[in-house]
């Protein structure tokens, strides 16, 4: 490292952690647990379970659309960034897609931490301006008569998309629907495909 040059992020992070630990503000072991939880446990599978339940249980679906946070908590998923989850439903004629134009807000308890492209300046800037084009570039072609609504996380709200249940899956039970539901479909940049 050169004196006076920019300080490497890794060392500055370590310095901060030391100072905060010395002040008793963080317990590294507690922090380890939080990190491990997000690295290994919390992910899109949680959201997929929510979606599959909503597809197979009309009353749950109604509760989910009325109060996302409460309905999601019914399945045992809660925590940071899940305090105000609003669920919006995609249909054959309406398509919702989620973005956080200012930073990277994302419903952690149901989707885990966001992927790189979600945090990328290009996605964040372009999705609000030209959603149809961006969706097409990401592999999702929507018919011209499909209305697109871009959901921007500008307040405390964290959006979750309830994707459209694909045709041909009517006979499938809930547990066989779960693996079909992808992270991208719950952000609204893809559709769920039948197996």
């Amino acid at each position: 490292m050169t004196t006076g040059g920019p300080l490497p992020a890794a060392l500055r992070t370590e310095a901060l952690e030391q100072l905060l630990t010395e002040r008793g503000l963080i317990d590294p072991k507690v922090m380890d647990g939080i990190i491990t939880n997000y690295e290994t446990n919390v992910g899109p599978l949680n959201g997929a379970k929510v979606v599959a339940r909503a597809w197979t249980d009309p009353q749950y679906r109604r509760r989910l659309l009325e109060d996302g946070t409460a309905a999601i908590k019914e399945l045992g998923f809660s925590g940071s960034q899940g305090e105000h989850i609003v669920v919006v439903e995609n249909t054959a004629t309406t398509h919702n897609v989620v973005v956080c134009t200012l930073c990277s807000c994302y419903p952690w308890p149901v989707l885990g931490l966001p992927p790189s492209w979600y945090k990328d300046p290009a996605y964040r800037a372009r999705m609000v301006k030209e959603p149809r084009t961006v969706l097409s570039e990401m592999g999702l072609e929507l018919a011209d008569d499909v209305r697109i609504t871009v959901r921007d996380s500008t307040s405390e709200v964290r959006w979750l998309v309830l994707p459209e249940r694909p045709a041909g899956t009517e006979h499938l039970p809930e547990e066989q629907l779960v693996p079909l539901v992808t992270r991208d479909a719950m952000v609204g940049v893809a559709k769920v495909k039948a197996p």
Binding site: A15, E17, L19, G33, I34
Partner: protein, 124 residues
């Protein structure tokens, strides 16, 4: 300090070891590319859950850092999300007097002077 994991415990349901949502590449990529990113992430979450600052405070600082990078006519550095995250964390902590920028710099320089291999286990 309360145990921040309490609010998370319900999320630790058993997971399938394979399949599209299998951790840790549940997003098709590693959650953290470098170890320091996970520490910077963990510090922000731990501190907000412990009430050292609120999440909206941190979010505002993160937005300010990202916005500054995006509006700069000349980019000194490539887009690095967790760099902004770390800067925002330090902004909040320095702003409320929890740490000073000088002591962070001093400690960082001290750590930088460690001999190579300092973090490798030494045989006893």
């Amino acid at each position: 300090m309360t145990t921040p994991l309490e609010g998370q415990s319900a999320t630790t349901a058993p997971l399938d070891a394979e399949g599209p949502a299998a951790p840790p590449r549940s997003n098709g990529e590693l959650v953290f590319v470098e170890p320091w990113q996970s520490r910077a992430f963990g510090m922000a979450v731990t501190l907000s859950e412990a009430g050292v600052f609120t999440w909206p405070q941190f979010r505002a600082a993160l937005i300010a850092r990202i916005s500054a990078w995006e509006s700069a006519p000349v980019k000194d550095e490539n887009w690095n999300y967790y760099q902004h995250w770390l800067d925002a964390l330090q902004d909040v902590l320095v702003g409320q007097g929890t740490v000073s920028a000088d002591e962070v710099t001093a400690r960082t320089r001290t750590l930088a002077r460690r001999p190579p291999g300092h973090d490798h286990p030494h045989p006893r």
